[in-house]
Subunit: 314 residues, 2 copies
Amino acid sequence: MEKKCIGVDVGGTTVKIGLFEVSGELLKKWEIPTRKEEQGKYILDDVAASILEVLKQEEISLEQICGAGLGVPGPVKKDGYVEVCVNLGWKDRRPSEELSHLLGNIPVLCGNDANVAALGEMWKGGGEGYTDIVMVTLGTGVGGGVILDEKILSGRHGLGGEIGHIHIRDEETEHCNCGGVGCLEQVASATGIAREARRKMASCDQHSVLRAAKEVLTAKDVLDAAKEGDKLALEVMETVGHYLGVALSQIAVTVDPDIFVIGGGVSKAGQFLIDIIERHYKPYVAISQDRAKIGLAKLGNDAGIYGAARMVLN
Amino acid sequence: MEKKCIGVDVGGTTVKIGLFEVSGELLKKWEIPTRKEEQGKYILDDVAASILEVLKQEEISLEQICGAGLGVPGPVKKDGYVEVCVNLGWKDRRPSEELSHLLGNIPVLCGNDANVAALGEMWKGGGEGYTDIVMVTLGTGVGGGVILDEKILSGRHGLGGEIGHIHIRDEETEHCNCGGVGCLEQVASATGIAREARRKMASCDQHSVLRAAKEVLTAKDVLDAAKEGDKLALEVMETVGHYLGVALSQIAVTVDPDIFVIGGGVSKAGQFLIDIIERHYKPYVAISQDRAKIGLAKLGNDAGIYGAARMVLN
Protein backbone atom coordinates (compact mmCIF):
# COMPACT_ATOMS: atom_id res chain seq x y z
CA MET A 1 0.00 0.00 0.00
CA GLU A 2 1.29 3.40 -0.98
CA LYS A 3 2.48 5.74 1.72
CA LYS A 4 0.53 8.87 2.65
CA CYS A 5 1.53 12.23 4.03
CA ILE A 6 -0.12 14.94 6.09
CA GLY A 7 -0.20 18.70 5.63
CA VAL A 8 -1.07 21.02 8.52
CA ASP A 9 -1.64 24.74 8.00
CA VAL A 10 -1.88 26.53 11.35
CA GLY A 11 -3.75 29.83 11.05
CA GLY A 12 -4.67 32.34 13.71
CA THR A 13 -8.30 31.13 13.83
CA THR A 14 -8.38 27.62 12.38
CA VAL A 15 -5.95 24.83 11.66
CA LYS A 16 -6.45 23.20 8.25
CA ILE A 17 -5.32 19.62 7.92
CA GLY A 18 -5.07 17.46 4.82
CA LEU A 19 -4.33 13.80 4.26
CA PHE A 20 -2.61 13.12 0.94
CA GLU A 21 -1.31 10.33 -1.19
CA VAL A 22 2.40 10.93 -1.86
CA SER A 23 1.32 11.47 -5.47
CA GLY A 24 -0.44 14.64 -4.31
CA GLU A 25 -4.01 13.35 -4.36
CA LEU A 26 -5.99 14.96 -1.52
CA LEU A 27 -7.81 12.15 0.29
CA LYS A 28 -9.45 14.15 3.06
CA LYS A 29 -9.31 17.63 4.49
CA TRP A 30 -10.73 19.06 7.67
CA GLU A 31 -10.38 21.95 10.11
CA ILE A 32 -10.10 22.44 13.85
CA PRO A 33 -10.15 25.69 15.81
CA THR A 34 -6.83 27.24 16.84
CA ARG A 35 -6.77 27.46 20.65
CA LYS A 36 -4.51 30.42 21.26
CA GLU A 37 -4.98 30.62 25.04
CA GLU A 38 -1.99 30.16 27.36
CA GLN A 39 0.60 31.03 24.69
CA GLY A 40 -0.96 28.57 22.29
CA LYS A 41 0.17 25.61 24.38
CA TYR A 42 -2.71 23.36 23.27
CA ILE A 43 -2.41 23.88 19.53
CA LEU A 44 -0.06 21.01 18.72
CA ASP A 45 -1.82 18.65 21.14
CA ASP A 46 -5.10 19.43 19.38
CA VAL A 47 -3.53 18.89 15.97
CA ALA A 48 -2.00 15.56 16.97
CA ALA A 49 -5.23 14.32 18.61
CA SER A 50 -7.25 15.29 15.53
CA ILE A 51 -4.84 13.57 13.15
CA LEU A 52 -4.77 10.38 15.23
CA GLU A 53 -8.57 10.36 15.37
CA VAL A 54 -8.95 10.74 11.60
CA LEU A 55 -6.31 8.09 10.92
CA LYS A 56 -8.22 5.74 13.21
CA GLN A 57 -11.49 6.45 11.38
CA GLU A 58 -9.81 5.87 8.04
CA GLU A 59 -8.08 2.75 9.31
CA ILE A 60 -4.65 4.08 8.47
CA SER A 61 -1.74 3.33 10.79
CA LEU A 62 1.08 5.77 11.59
CA GLU A 63 3.44 3.36 9.84
CA GLN A 64 1.69 4.21 6.59
CA ILE A 65 2.40 7.93 7.05
CA CYS A 66 5.78 9.02 5.65
CA GLY A 67 5.61 12.33 7.47
CA ALA A 68 3.77 15.53 8.26
CA GLY A 69 4.49 19.13 7.35
CA LEU A 70 3.50 22.14 9.39
CA GLY A 71 2.98 25.68 8.16
CA VAL A 72 2.95 28.40 10.84
CA PRO A 73 2.14 32.12 10.55
CA GLY A 74 5.56 33.55 11.45
CA PRO A 75 9.27 33.26 10.78
CA VAL A 76 10.80 29.78 10.95
CA LYS A 77 14.55 29.19 10.91
CA LYS A 78 16.03 26.67 8.52
CA ASP A 79 16.34 24.09 11.32
CA GLY A 80 12.66 24.49 12.24
CA TYR A 81 13.22 26.76 15.23
CA VAL A 82 10.48 29.32 15.99
CA GLU A 83 11.82 32.16 18.10
CA VAL A 84 8.50 33.92 18.28
CA CYS A 85 5.13 33.51 16.56
CA VAL A 86 2.95 36.44 17.62
CA ASN A 87 -0.14 35.09 15.86
CA LEU A 88 -0.15 31.91 17.95
CA GLY A 89 1.41 33.20 21.15
CA TRP A 90 4.42 30.91 20.68
CA LYS A 91 7.90 31.72 21.97
CA ASP A 92 11.07 29.65 21.75
CA ARG A 93 9.45 26.54 20.27
CA ARG A 94 10.50 23.65 18.08
CA PRO A 95 7.07 22.72 16.71
CA SER A 96 8.32 20.06 14.33
CA GLU A 97 10.06 18.13 17.11
CA GLU A 98 7.04 18.54 19.39
CA LEU A 99 4.52 17.34 16.81
CA SER A 100 6.77 14.46 15.79
CA HIS A 101 6.91 13.36 19.41
CA LEU A 102 3.09 13.50 19.61
CA LEU A 103 2.74 11.43 16.43
CA GLY A 104 4.89 8.44 17.30
CA ASN A 105 8.08 10.11 16.04
CA ILE A 106 7.10 10.25 12.37
CA PRO A 107 9.19 12.86 10.48
CA VAL A 108 7.73 16.36 10.84
CA LEU A 109 9.01 19.50 9.13
CA CYS A 110 7.98 23.07 9.86
CA GLY A 111 7.99 26.16 7.65
CA ASN A 112 6.58 29.65 7.38
CA ASP A 113 3.01 29.52 6.06
CA ALA A 114 3.61 31.78 3.06
CA ASN A 115 6.66 29.78 2.05
CA VAL A 116 4.78 26.54 2.54
CA ALA A 117 1.87 27.79 0.40
CA ALA A 118 4.38 28.60 -2.34
CA LEU A 119 5.61 25.00 -2.23
CA GLY A 120 2.00 23.83 -2.51
CA GLU A 121 1.44 25.96 -5.61
CA MET A 122 4.64 24.53 -7.09
CA TRP A 123 3.45 20.99 -6.44
CA LYS A 124 -0.16 21.05 -7.60
CA GLY A 125 -1.08 24.66 -8.33
CA GLY A 126 -0.08 27.50 -10.62
CA GLY A 127 3.55 26.42 -10.57
CA GLU A 128 2.95 22.74 -11.31
CA GLY A 129 5.62 21.35 -13.59
CA TYR A 130 8.22 23.89 -12.48
CA THR A 131 11.02 23.59 -9.94
CA ASP A 132 11.71 27.28 -9.26
CA ILE A 133 8.79 29.56 -8.45
CA VAL A 134 8.15 32.73 -6.52
CA MET A 135 4.68 33.07 -5.07
CA VAL A 136 3.19 36.45 -4.24
CA THR A 137 0.07 36.46 -2.08
CA LEU A 138 -1.91 39.67 -2.35
CA GLY A 139 -4.21 39.55 0.67
CA THR A 140 -4.69 41.80 3.68
CA GLY A 141 -0.90 42.00 3.54
CA VAL A 142 1.51 40.84 0.87
CA GLY A 143 3.12 37.48 1.53
CA GLY A 144 5.65 35.64 -0.49
CA GLY A 145 7.58 32.44 -0.89
CA VAL A 146 10.62 31.50 -2.91
CA ILE A 147 10.97 27.89 -4.08
CA LEU A 148 14.27 26.89 -5.66
CA ASP A 149 14.94 23.37 -6.86
CA GLU A 150 11.63 22.27 -5.32
CA LYS A 151 12.72 23.46 -1.89
CA ILE A 152 11.72 26.40 0.28
CA LEU A 153 14.25 29.22 0.56
CA SER A 154 13.84 30.08 4.27
CA GLY A 155 16.82 32.39 4.34
CA ARG A 156 19.49 32.75 7.00
CA HIS A 157 17.43 35.02 9.26
CA GLY A 158 13.93 33.76 8.43
CA LEU A 159 13.45 36.57 5.89
CA GLY A 160 13.42 34.43 2.72
CA GLY A 161 10.49 35.40 0.51
CA GLU A 162 9.37 38.33 2.70
CA ILE A 163 8.71 40.22 -0.49
CA GLY A 164 5.81 42.20 0.94
CA HIS A 165 8.53 44.18 2.68
CA ILE A 166 10.57 45.01 -0.38
CA HIS A 167 11.09 48.79 -0.19
CA ILE A 168 9.61 50.00 -3.44
CA ARG A 169 8.38 53.55 -3.01
CA ASP A 170 10.74 56.29 -1.85
CA GLU A 171 7.92 58.87 -1.77
CA GLU A 172 5.88 56.98 0.84
CA THR A 173 5.67 58.70 4.22
CA GLU A 174 3.43 56.37 6.27
CA HIS A 175 5.02 53.46 8.09
CA CYS A 176 4.39 49.81 7.29
CA ASN A 177 3.55 47.30 10.06
CA CYS A 178 7.11 46.00 9.80
CA GLY A 179 8.49 49.35 10.92
CA GLY A 180 9.80 50.21 7.49
CA VAL A 181 8.41 52.68 5.01
CA GLY A 182 7.48 52.35 1.35
CA CYS A 183 7.03 48.55 1.45
CA LEU A 184 5.35 46.72 -1.44
CA GLU A 185 2.63 45.64 1.00
CA GLN A 186 1.66 49.27 1.55
CA VAL A 187 0.57 49.64 -2.06
CA ALA A 188 -0.17 46.15 -3.40
CA SER A 189 -2.11 44.49 -0.56
CA ALA A 190 -5.91 44.66 -0.52
CA THR A 191 -5.56 47.27 2.22
CA GLY A 192 -2.99 49.14 0.17
CA ILE A 193 -5.07 49.20 -3.00
CA ALA A 194 -8.06 50.62 -1.14
CA ARG A 195 -5.85 53.22 0.54
CA GLU A 196 -4.31 54.17 -2.78
CA ALA A 197 -7.81 54.76 -4.19
CA ARG A 198 -8.83 56.88 -1.19
CA ARG A 199 -5.65 58.94 -1.54
CA LYS A 200 -6.25 59.42 -5.24
CA MET A 201 -9.85 60.55 -4.69
CA ALA A 202 -8.76 62.96 -1.98
CA SER A 203 -6.12 64.47 -4.25
CA CYS A 204 -8.30 65.27 -7.27
CA ASP A 205 -11.84 65.97 -8.46
CA GLN A 206 -11.87 63.33 -11.16
CA HIS A 207 -15.23 61.54 -11.56
CA SER A 208 -15.31 57.93 -10.40
CA VAL A 209 -17.92 55.33 -9.50
CA LEU A 210 -15.79 54.77 -6.41
CA ARG A 211 -16.96 58.10 -5.02
CA ALA A 212 -20.55 56.87 -4.83
CA ALA A 213 -21.78 55.81 -1.43
CA LYS A 214 -20.26 52.82 0.45
CA GLU A 215 -18.76 53.23 3.82
CA VAL A 216 -15.72 51.07 3.39
CA LEU A 217 -14.03 51.02 0.02
CA THR A 218 -12.41 47.64 -0.76
CA ALA A 219 -9.75 46.47 -3.19
CA LYS A 220 -12.49 44.49 -4.93
CA ASP A 221 -14.45 47.72 -5.52
CA VAL A 222 -11.36 49.25 -7.11
CA LEU A 223 -10.66 46.23 -9.30
CA ASP A 224 -14.30 45.87 -10.37
CA ALA A 225 -14.45 49.57 -11.27
CA ALA A 226 -11.15 49.31 -13.17
CA LYS A 227 -12.51 46.38 -15.16
CA GLU A 228 -15.57 48.47 -16.02
CA GLY A 229 -13.25 51.16 -17.36
CA ASP A 230 -13.50 53.66 -14.52
CA LYS A 231 -10.61 56.01 -15.25
CA LEU A 232 -9.64 56.79 -11.67
CA ALA A 233 -9.74 53.11 -10.67
CA LEU A 234 -7.63 52.27 -13.71
CA GLU A 235 -5.06 54.86 -12.71
CA VAL A 236 -4.92 53.40 -9.21
CA MET A 237 -4.35 49.93 -10.66
CA GLU A 238 -1.63 51.29 -12.95
CA THR A 239 0.18 52.58 -9.86
CA VAL A 240 -0.29 49.28 -8.04
CA GLY A 241 0.74 47.35 -11.15
CA HIS A 242 3.81 49.52 -11.57
CA TYR A 243 5.17 48.75 -8.11
CA LEU A 244 4.26 45.08 -8.38
CA GLY A 245 5.84 44.84 -11.83
CA VAL A 246 9.01 46.56 -10.64
CA ALA A 247 9.25 44.30 -7.57
CA LEU A 248 8.84 41.17 -9.70
CA SER A 249 11.45 42.44 -12.17
CA GLN A 250 13.88 42.94 -9.30
CA ILE A 251 13.32 39.38 -8.14
CA ALA A 252 13.56 38.11 -11.73
CA VAL A 253 17.11 39.45 -12.14
CA THR A 254 18.19 38.15 -8.73
CA VAL A 255 16.48 34.80 -8.16
CA ASP A 256 15.33 34.18 -11.76
CA PRO A 257 12.52 31.65 -11.19
CA ASP A 258 10.55 29.81 -13.87
CA ILE A 259 7.36 31.62 -12.96
CA PHE A 260 5.76 34.07 -10.55
CA VAL A 261 2.49 32.73 -9.15
CA ILE A 262 0.08 35.42 -7.96
CA GLY A 263 -2.41 34.42 -5.27
CA GLY A 264 -4.51 35.86 -2.46
CA GLY A 265 -7.86 37.64 -2.54
CA VAL A 266 -6.70 40.40 -4.89
CA SER A 267 -5.72 37.78 -7.49
CA LYS A 268 -9.38 36.94 -7.99
CA ALA A 269 -9.26 39.81 -10.50
CA GLY A 270 -7.59 37.20 -12.71
CA GLN A 271 -5.87 37.79 -16.03
CA PHE A 272 -6.88 41.47 -15.95
CA LEU A 273 -4.50 41.94 -12.99
CA ILE A 274 -1.76 39.77 -14.51
CA ASP A 275 -1.86 41.86 -17.72
CA ILE A 276 -1.35 45.10 -15.78
CA ILE A 277 1.56 43.64 -13.77
CA GLU A 278 3.12 42.17 -16.91
CA ARG A 279 3.05 45.55 -18.67
CA HIS A 280 5.09 47.07 -15.85
CA TYR A 281 7.37 44.04 -15.43
CA LYS A 282 8.68 43.43 -18.93
CA PRO A 283 10.44 46.80 -19.49
CA TYR A 284 12.55 46.17 -16.39
CA VAL A 285 13.78 42.73 -17.37
CA ALA A 286 15.06 44.09 -20.68
CA ILE A 287 18.33 42.18 -20.34
CA SER A 288 16.74 38.99 -21.69
CA GLN A 289 13.78 37.97 -23.85
CA ASP A 290 13.69 34.72 -21.92
CA ARG A 291 12.46 35.52 -18.45
CA ALA A 292 10.15 34.30 -15.69
CA LYS A 293 6.47 34.12 -16.62
CA ILE A 294 3.66 35.50 -14.48
CA GLY A 295 0.60 33.36 -13.75
CA LEU A 296 -2.23 32.85 -11.30
CA ALA A 297 -2.30 30.66 -8.21
CA LYS A 298 -4.76 27.77 -8.35
CA LEU A 299 -5.11 26.20 -4.91
CA GLY A 300 -6.65 29.08 -2.98
CA ASN A 301 -6.77 28.38 0.75
CA ASP A 302 -5.65 24.79 0.23
CA ALA A 303 -2.13 25.84 -0.88
CA GLY A 304 -0.96 25.61 2.73
CA ILE A 305 -1.94 22.00 3.33
CA TYR A 306 -0.60 20.93 -0.07
CA GLY A 307 2.73 22.64 0.57
CA ALA A 308 3.00 21.32 4.12
CA ALA A 309 2.47 17.78 2.89
CA ARG A 310 4.94 18.30 0.03
CA MET A 311 7.65 19.41 2.47
CA VAL A 312 8.17 15.89 3.78
CA LEU A 313 8.67 14.43 0.29
CA ASN A 314 12.06 16.07 -0.43
CA MET B 1 48.64 12.43 -2.24
CA GLU B 2 45.84 14.92 -1.95
CA LYS B 3 43.81 15.77 -5.02
CA LYS B 4 44.05 19.16 -6.67
CA CYS B 5 41.64 21.26 -8.69
CA ILE B 6 41.89 23.92 -11.36
CA GLY B 7 40.12 27.26 -11.70
CA VAL B 8 39.90 29.05 -15.06
CA ASP B 9 38.60 32.60 -15.37
CA VAL B 10 38.12 33.54 -19.02
CA GLY B 11 38.15 37.30 -19.52
CA GLY B 12 37.89 39.33 -22.69
CA THR B 13 41.65 40.02 -22.75
CA THR B 14 43.34 37.38 -20.60
CA VAL B 15 42.53 33.99 -19.18
CA LYS B 16 43.54 33.56 -15.56
CA ILE B 17 44.29 30.02 -14.42
CA GLY B 18 44.93 28.72 -10.92
CA LEU B 19 46.02 25.36 -9.57
CA PHE B 20 44.67 24.66 -6.08
CA GLU B 21 44.76 22.10 -3.33
CA VAL B 22 41.19 20.98 -2.59
CA SER B 23 41.68 22.71 0.77
CA GLY B 24 41.77 26.02 -1.12
CA GLU B 25 45.50 26.66 -1.04
CA LEU B 26 46.62 28.36 -4.26
CA LEU B 27 49.66 26.46 -5.55
CA LYS B 28 50.29 28.37 -8.76
CA LYS B 29 48.55 30.97 -10.87
CA TRP B 30 49.28 32.21 -14.35
CA GLU B 31 47.70 33.97 -17.33
CA ILE B 32 47.43 33.48 -21.05
CA PRO B 33 45.99 35.86 -23.66
CA THR B 34 42.38 35.37 -24.78
CA ARG B 35 42.41 34.72 -28.53
CA LYS B 36 39.06 36.02 -29.65
CA GLU B 37 39.55 35.64 -33.41
CA GLU B 38 37.28 33.31 -35.41
CA GLN B 39 34.48 33.35 -32.84
CA GLY B 40 36.90 32.52 -30.05
CA LYS B 41 37.44 29.04 -31.41
CA TYR B 42 40.99 28.73 -30.03
CA ILE B 43 40.29 29.82 -26.47
CA LEU B 44 39.58 26.42 -24.95
CA ASP B 45 42.38 24.74 -26.92
CA ASP B 46 44.79 27.36 -25.54
CA VAL B 47 43.48 26.86 -22.01
CA ALA B 48 43.82 23.09 -22.21
CA ALA B 49 47.32 23.23 -23.72
CA SER B 50 48.45 25.67 -21.06
CA ILE B 51 47.05 23.55 -18.23
CA LEU B 52 48.63 20.37 -19.58
CA GLU B 53 51.99 22.13 -19.93
CA VAL B 54 51.93 23.42 -16.37
CA LEU B 55 50.86 20.04 -14.99
CA LYS B 56 53.80 18.48 -16.85
CA GLN B 57 56.21 21.05 -15.37
CA GLU B 58 54.81 20.44 -11.91
CA GLU B 59 54.88 16.68 -12.40
CA ILE B 60 51.19 16.36 -11.65
CA SER B 61 49.13 13.84 -13.61
CA LEU B 62 45.52 14.39 -14.73
CA GLU B 63 44.54 11.56 -12.38
CA GLN B 64 45.48 13.83 -9.48
CA ILE B 65 43.09 16.55 -10.68
CA CYS B 66 39.56 16.14 -9.38
CA GLY B 67 38.19 18.66 -11.86
CA ALA B 68 38.31 22.11 -13.38
CA GLY B 69 35.89 25.02 -13.19
CA LEU B 70 35.43 27.61 -15.89
CA GLY B 71 34.09 31.14 -15.45
CA VAL B 72 32.97 32.91 -18.63
CA PRO B 73 31.87 36.52 -19.16
CA GLY B 74 28.25 35.91 -20.16
CA PRO B 75 25.10 34.02 -19.22
CA VAL B 76 25.44 30.28 -18.58
CA LYS B 77 22.46 27.97 -18.20
CA LYS B 78 22.26 25.62 -15.25
CA ASP B 79 23.36 22.69 -17.44
CA GLY B 80 26.42 24.62 -18.62
CA TYR B 81 25.00 25.65 -21.99
CA VAL B 82 26.20 28.98 -23.42
CA GLU B 83 23.79 30.31 -26.01
CA VAL B 84 25.85 33.38 -26.73
CA CYS B 85 28.89 35.01 -25.14
CA VAL B 86 29.46 38.32 -26.94
CA ASN B 87 32.71 39.04 -25.10
CA LEU B 88 34.36 35.89 -26.48
CA GLY B 89 32.53 35.57 -29.78
CA TRP B 90 30.98 32.27 -28.68
CA LYS B 91 27.62 31.02 -29.90
CA ASP B 92 25.83 27.77 -29.07
CA ARG B 93 28.66 26.21 -27.07
CA ARG B 94 29.04 23.70 -24.27
CA PRO B 95 32.41 24.86 -22.94
CA SER B 96 32.48 22.48 -19.98
CA GLU B 97 32.04 19.42 -22.21
CA GLU B 98 34.59 20.76 -24.68
CA LEU B 99 37.24 21.48 -22.06
CA SER B 100 36.61 18.17 -20.33
CA HIS B 101 37.21 16.41 -23.65
CA LEU B 102 40.50 18.32 -24.08
CA LEU B 103 41.62 17.39 -20.55
CA GLY B 104 41.22 13.62 -20.66
CA ASN B 105 37.57 13.79 -19.59
CA ILE B 106 38.16 15.15 -16.09
CA PRO B 107 34.97 16.76 -14.67
CA VAL B 108 34.58 20.37 -15.85
CA LEU B 109 31.85 22.78 -14.77
CA CYS B 110 31.08 26.17 -16.28
CA GLY B 111 29.48 29.25 -14.76
CA ASN B 112 29.01 32.95 -15.30
CA ASP B 113 32.14 34.83 -14.20
CA ALA B 114 30.36 37.10 -11.71
CA ASN B 115 28.60 34.13 -10.12
CA VAL B 116 31.85 32.17 -10.03
CA ALA B 117 33.66 35.09 -8.37
CA ALA B 118 30.92 35.15 -5.72
CA LEU B 119 31.60 31.47 -5.00
CA GLY B 120 35.30 32.28 -4.69
CA GLU B 121 34.59 35.00 -2.13
CA MET B 122 32.41 32.55 -0.21
CA TRP B 123 35.20 29.99 -0.19
CA LYS B 124 38.27 32.01 0.74
CA GLY B 125 37.29 35.69 0.66
CA GLY B 126 34.91 38.11 2.34
CA GLY B 127 32.26 35.41 2.71
CA GLU B 128 34.52 32.72 4.20
CA GLY B 129 32.72 30.74 6.87
CA TYR B 130 29.28 31.42 5.39
CA THR B 131 27.14 29.29 3.11
CA ASP B 132 24.77 31.94 1.71
CA ILE B 133 26.28 35.12 0.29
CA VAL B 134 25.41 37.72 -2.30
CA MET B 135 28.35 39.38 -3.98
CA VAL B 136 28.07 42.78 -5.58
CA THR B 137 30.91 43.85 -7.85
CA LEU B 138 31.08 47.60 -8.37
CA GLY B 139 33.31 47.98 -11.41
CA THR B 140 32.82 49.48 -14.86
CA GLY B 141 29.41 47.87 -14.56
CA VAL B 142 27.70 46.27 -11.56
CA GLY B 143 27.96 42.49 -11.43
CA GLY B 144 26.52 40.13 -8.92
CA GLY B 145 26.36 36.57 -7.76
CA VAL B 146 24.05 34.71 -5.42
CA ILE B 147 25.42 31.72 -3.51
CA LEU B 148 22.92 29.62 -1.57
CA ASP B 149 23.97 26.56 0.39
CA GLU B 150 27.49 26.89 -1.07
CA LYS B 151 26.15 26.65 -4.61
CA ILE B 152 25.73 29.20 -7.41
CA LEU B 153 22.16 30.29 -8.14
CA SER B 154 22.31 30.46 -11.94
CA GLY B 155 18.60 30.96 -12.33
CA ARG B 156 16.26 29.43 -14.87
CA HIS B 157 17.08 31.87 -17.66
CA GLY B 158 20.69 32.66 -16.78
CA LEU B 159 19.60 35.82 -14.91
CA GLY B 160 20.49 34.67 -11.38
CA GLY B 161 22.45 37.38 -9.59
CA GLU B 162 22.16 39.95 -12.39
CA ILE B 163 21.65 42.54 -9.71
CA GLY B 164 23.30 45.33 -11.69
CA HIS B 165 20.07 45.32 -13.64
CA ILE B 166 17.70 45.69 -10.73
CA HIS B 167 15.44 48.61 -11.66
CA ILE B 168 15.98 51.05 -8.85
CA ARG B 169 15.36 54.57 -10.08
CA ASP B 170 12.05 55.51 -11.66
CA GLU B 171 13.26 59.06 -12.43
CA GLU B 172 16.11 57.89 -14.69
CA THR B 173 15.63 58.74 -18.37
CA GLU B 174 18.83 57.40 -19.99
CA HIS B 175 18.93 53.78 -21.07
CA CYS B 176 21.21 51.15 -19.56
CA ASN B 177 23.29 48.85 -21.80
CA CYS B 178 20.80 46.08 -21.06
CA GLY B 179 18.03 48.01 -22.80
CA GLY B 180 16.30 48.84 -19.53
CA VAL B 181 16.19 52.13 -17.73
CA GLY B 182 16.95 53.05 -14.12
CA CYS B 183 19.20 50.03 -13.44
CA LEU B 184 21.39 49.90 -10.33
CA GLU B 185 24.42 49.77 -12.64
CA GLN B 186 23.55 53.21 -14.00
CA VAL B 187 24.11 54.82 -10.61
CA ALA B 188 26.38 52.48 -8.62
CA SER B 189 29.04 51.41 -11.13
CA ALA B 190 32.29 53.39 -11.43
CA THR B 191 30.86 54.86 -14.61
CA GLY B 192 27.59 55.63 -12.87
CA ILE B 193 29.21 57.36 -9.90
CA ALA B 194 31.25 59.61 -12.20
CA ARG B 195 28.15 60.40 -14.26
CA GLU B 196 26.17 61.17 -11.12
CA ALA B 197 28.87 63.65 -10.07
CA ARG B 198 28.89 65.32 -13.51
CA ARG B 199 25.10 65.61 -13.41
CA LYS B 200 25.20 67.07 -9.94
CA MET B 201 27.81 69.66 -10.91
CA ALA B 202 25.84 70.64 -14.01
CA SER B 203 22.68 71.11 -11.97
CA CYS B 204 24.05 73.48 -9.30
CA ASP B 205 26.74 76.03 -8.49
CA GLN B 206 27.91 74.37 -5.30
CA HIS B 207 31.66 74.54 -4.73
CA SER B 208 33.53 71.26 -5.10
CA VAL B 209 37.12 70.13 -5.58
CA LEU B 210 35.70 67.97 -8.35
CA ARG B 211 35.19 71.07 -10.48
CA ALA B 212 38.94 71.73 -10.61
CA ALA B 213 40.67 70.75 -13.82
CA LYS B 214 40.91 67.06 -14.91
CA GLU B 215 39.58 65.95 -18.21
CA VAL B 216 37.94 62.73 -17.15
CA LEU B 217 36.31 62.58 -13.75
CA THR B 218 36.50 59.10 -12.19
CA ALA B 219 34.62 57.34 -9.41
CA LYS B 220 37.87 57.33 -7.45
CA ASP B 221 37.99 61.14 -7.66
CA VAL B 222 34.47 61.30 -6.27
CA LEU B 223 35.19 58.85 -3.45
CA ASP B 224 38.48 60.53 -2.55
CA ALA B 225 36.79 63.93 -2.45
CA ALA B 226 33.93 62.53 -0.35
CA LYS B 227 36.43 61.10 2.15
CA GLU B 228 38.05 64.54 2.35
CA GLY B 229 34.66 66.00 3.23
CA ASP B 230 33.80 67.62 -0.10
CA LYS B 231 30.09 68.38 0.29
CA LEU B 232 29.06 67.82 -3.30
CA ALA B 233 30.99 64.54 -3.51
CA LEU B 234 29.38 63.44 -0.24
CA GLU B 235 25.94 64.19 -1.63
CA VAL B 236 26.71 62.15 -4.73
CA MET B 237 27.82 59.24 -2.55
CA GLU B 238 24.66 59.56 -0.45
CA THR B 239 22.63 59.14 -3.64
CA VAL B 240 24.72 56.18 -4.75
CA GLY B 241 24.57 54.69 -1.25
CA HIS B 242 20.82 55.14 -1.13
CA TYR B 243 20.20 53.11 -4.26
CA LEU B 244 22.75 50.47 -3.28
CA GLY B 245 21.30 50.24 0.22
CA VAL B 246 17.76 49.91 -1.13
CA ALA B 247 18.82 47.24 -3.63
CA LEU B 248 20.56 45.22 -0.92
CA SER B 249 17.54 45.56 1.37
CA GLN B 250 15.32 44.21 -1.41
CA ILE B 251 17.61 41.21 -1.82
CA ALA B 252 17.81 40.76 1.97
CA VAL B 253 14.04 40.27 2.27
CA THR B 254 13.91 37.93 -0.73
CA VAL B 255 17.05 35.78 -0.66
CA ASP B 256 18.15 36.57 2.92
CA PRO B 257 21.87 35.68 2.74
CA ASP B 258 24.34 35.61 5.64
CA ILE B 259 26.30 38.49 4.18
CA PHE B 260 26.64 40.84 1.23
CA VAL B 261 30.20 41.00 -0.04
CA ILE B 262 31.08 44.20 -1.90
CA GLY B 263 33.89 43.98 -4.45
CA GLY B 264 35.17 45.64 -7.61
CA GLY B 265 37.26 48.78 -8.08
CA VAL B 266 34.79 51.06 -6.30
CA SER B 267 35.03 48.90 -3.17
CA LYS B 268 38.63 50.07 -2.71
CA ALA B 269 37.00 52.96 -0.86
CA GLY B 270 36.68 50.40 1.94
CA GLN B 271 34.71 50.78 5.15
CA PHE B 272 33.82 54.39 4.23
CA LEU B 273 31.68 53.01 1.39
CA ILE B 274 30.24 50.17 3.48
CA ASP B 275 29.14 52.66 6.16
CA ILE B 276 27.23 54.76 3.62
CA ILE B 277 25.51 51.70 2.13
CA GLU B 278 24.68 50.34 5.59
CA ARG B 279 23.01 53.63 6.59
CA HIS B 280 20.65 53.33 3.63
CA TYR B 281 20.16 49.59 3.99
CA LYS B 282 19.11 49.16 7.60
CA PRO B 283 15.92 51.28 7.54
CA TYR B 284 14.53 49.10 4.76
CA VAL B 285 15.07 45.77 6.52
CA ALA B 286 13.12 47.01 9.50
CA ILE B 287 11.20 43.74 9.76
CA SER B 288 14.06 42.07 11.68
CA GLN B 289 17.02 43.08 13.83
CA ASP B 290 18.75 39.96 12.64
CA ARG B 291 19.66 40.53 9.01
CA ALA B 292 22.40 40.01 6.44
CA LYS B 293 25.66 41.82 7.19
CA ILE B 294 27.56 43.90 4.64
CA GLY B 295 31.31 43.42 4.21
CA LEU B 296 34.18 43.83 1.77
CA ALA B 297 35.46 41.35 -0.78
CA LYS B 298 39.00 40.11 -0.19
CA LEU B 299 40.25 38.22 -3.23
CA GLY B 300 40.30 41.01 -5.81
CA ASN B 301 40.97 39.70 -9.32
CA ASP B 302 41.67 36.21 -8.01
CA ALA B 303 38.04 35.63 -6.94
CA GLY B 304 37.29 34.12 -10.36
CA ILE B 305 39.94 31.39 -10.24
CA TYR B 306 39.10 30.55 -6.61
CA GLY B 307 35.39 30.27 -7.42
CA ALA B 308 35.97 28.28 -10.59
CA ALA B 309 38.09 25.77 -8.67
CA ARG B 310 35.52 25.62 -5.86
CA MET B 311 32.74 24.75 -8.31
CA VAL B 312 34.04 21.22 -8.81
CA LEU B 313 34.15 20.47 -5.09
CA ASN B 314 30.36 20.38 -4.53
